[in-house]
Amino acid sequence: MRDTGMSESTGPGTETGTDSRGTGTGTETGPGTETGPGTETGTGSRGTAAGGRPVAASAWTQLRTLALAMLRGFFRDRTALFFTFFFPLMFLVVFGLIFRDSGTSATTIAVAGQGPILDRLPAQVLKQQRFPDADAAIAKVRSGDLPAALIEDGNSLTLRFAASDQVKAAQLQGIVQAVVGEANIAASGRPPTFSLSAAQVEDRDLKAIQFLTPGILSWGVATSAAFGAALTLVSWRRKQLLRRIRLSPAPVWAVVGARVGVSLVVALVQAAVFVALAITPPFGLRLSHQWWLAIPLLILGTLAFLSIGLLVGAVAKTDEAASAMANFIVLPMAFLSGTFFDISQAPAWLRSFSKVFPLRWMNDGMLDVLGRGKGVQAVLAPSAVLIGFTLVVGFIATRLFRWDDA
């Protein structure tokens, strides 16, 4: 039974010339790593005269092989796909639709009658809900559904507001007053003596989607990076696949490098899918022109949470334990770092405390470049923190790393 294709070289030392097994330079196999002369004793048995004999695999090939195997496994795992892509999107849909009309962008008031003032009210600030008569409009305010009612009847205007929100009432009064004043000047036919030009400096108070998208995206990427690394490590160790790889010539860093590469690919795909949905009309995310600055942040954030995952994977013994530990770390972090709300509205102590979390820094950076349109300087501090975090936690993870359970 020669056709099993087993090694036929039996002479002493015939194989030892091939030992430059790819752990060194990282280049593709070159000439000279091919087996030496005399090792092939017969060609008929194998049927592949050329290319049959293994040549030393370069570390790069090994890394690519492992990465490809992981990616294939990932994209065939429906549960993983659900939690990576669909689950964060669900949060975006739920929170995005709940908060769609919130924020300070526009107030709806009840209106009745018609005339030039109602026509001139700035639509981006005041939305008008029309009622057939003054009584119906005022009744709506009384019931607490709307903050104010504006009735225009010929040249006279009546503004009725609820006493419950004095600030909003004063704002509304100011807006209406300004419109009335402008209309009066226009009616007098004289050019205005004073003029005011006002322009927005930045979008201080964000529409919900502007902070929800970066927040939930950061959380989604963080979660899948941490879980992906932790579960790969634990399940590969449990199945003795780690041991099997250790008994192949592949260097350790090729295994880690493959996991890093896969996590980065997954994170970028996640981000693309996520943003693509968020910019559709129901959500209405407006991307700043510097949106691409989010990419380095995504990469660094992924690395930071990957290091957490590797640490969890080094410590945990079962898949369940790894899952629970990763959740225990990432989930509270998500709630305290402003994933689901605008952290700038949070109490001061929480704002300071949450700065210990890498997710907070990732959130802030993503929010600045995706939602607020800030430039490169907004990325620097979060990047530095994320890199530092990755190095420290990654170092601890390598210290605690184990090939085997026992």
Partner: protein, 306 residues
């Protein structure tokens, strides 16, 4: 490296010791495996087989003793040695969700084996028609075949198989024997552990019987059986031969009666069988000589160990 007989040595182990706390898992193990040999390590659970194998493979460090694997030391991790050995582990160490072909190609690529060569090996282990089947949907026997193929994908000189036939049904087990014999006839040195003594007897050139971290006996299965010097047992149905007649036969050392059978223990089977033939009492006879199992039980004791 050659031994005294001039045979080329693939593995030389001397004075191996490995202690886990109080437990001496391996306690002074030494053996030599020749190139091209099929070498079996037998023993009850906890005998130290797997630990011994792990030390020889280079996964664990021995507390004392030396290992030379193809003339080199496997510990610490020796990347020059790894492409020359193949391993099949107890757990089914496969990548998640890959098909049989993809598994082989993935393992092959770790060694620089071309994808085409990897696919050829599916044929060798008889899984060509399962190429696109996910590993998780293979039967136990098919999965073991794939696992062995993954261990052989880079044409190693020595392959370690840790209980390759465990938990397989008898057909699948027999099927695998042919594959294992084929590996050896290709010139590969095979070291394997098993619980199945019939299998070891059928496959191994030599076996080491281990218990309590020590090697109790090491030789070819036939030599071990001969050394046991056990009596031959001749059994006949009671309707053919009754116990009293049996005791009167020349050469019947001991006669036991159980159920509808009489069993005669003898050191002179030829003399005994001749007498039975003369009396025309051979219908339904069964003759059992000692097997490796008897050697094993003799050495390791019959006490049940959980």
């Amino acid at each position: 490296m050659r031994d005294a007989d001039g045979d080329e040595v693939a593995i030389a182990v001397e004075g191996l010791v490995k202690t886990y706390g109080e437990l001496r898992a391996v306690d002074g193990v030494g053996f030599t495996v020749h190139r091209g040999e099929f070498f079996g390590i037998l023993g009850p659970n906890g005998a130290g087989k797997t630990t011994t194998l792990e030390i020889v493979e280079g996964i664990r460090q021995a507390d004392a003793g030396t290992v030379r694997l193809l003339g080199q030391s496997p510990w610490p991790r020796n990347p020059a040695l790894l492409p020359r050995i193949g391993v099949q582990l107890q757990a089914s160490s496969f990548f998640d969700k890959l098909t049989a072909r993809e598994q082989l190609q993935a393992f092959g690529a770790l060694y620089g084996v071309s994808a085409r060569r990897a696919v050829e090996l599916l044929d060798v282990v008889g899984l060509a028609d399962k190429a696109n089947t996910p590993e998780s949907e293979l039967s136990g026997g098919q999965r073991q075949r794939l696992s062995i193929a993954c261990a052989l994908v880079h044409d190693p000189e020595v392959v370690f198989l840790d209980e390759p036939t465990a938990a397989l049904d008898p057909q699948a087990r027999r099927n695998l024997w042919d594959l294992l014999r084929g590996i050896q006839s290709g010139g590969v040195t095979v070291v394997y552990t098993t619980h199945y003594l019939d299998e070891a007897e059928a496959l191994c050139d030599r076996v080491a019987i281990m218990d309590g971290g020590r090697i109790l006996a090491l030789d070819s299965p036939a030599a071990l059986v001969r050394a046991l010097d056990a009596p031959t047992r001749v059994a006949l149905p009671t309707r053919i031969l009754d116990a009293a007649t049996a005791r009167g036969l020349d050469g019947a050392d001991q006669v036991t009666e159980g159920g509808d059978e009489v069993e005669i223990s003898t050191r002179h089977p030829a003399r005994l069988l001749t007498q039975l033939a003369e009396r025309d009492r051979l219908d339904g006879v069964s003759v059992r000589t000692a097997t490796l199992e008897d050697v094993f039980l003799h050495l390791t004791g019959r006490a049940y160990r959980a």
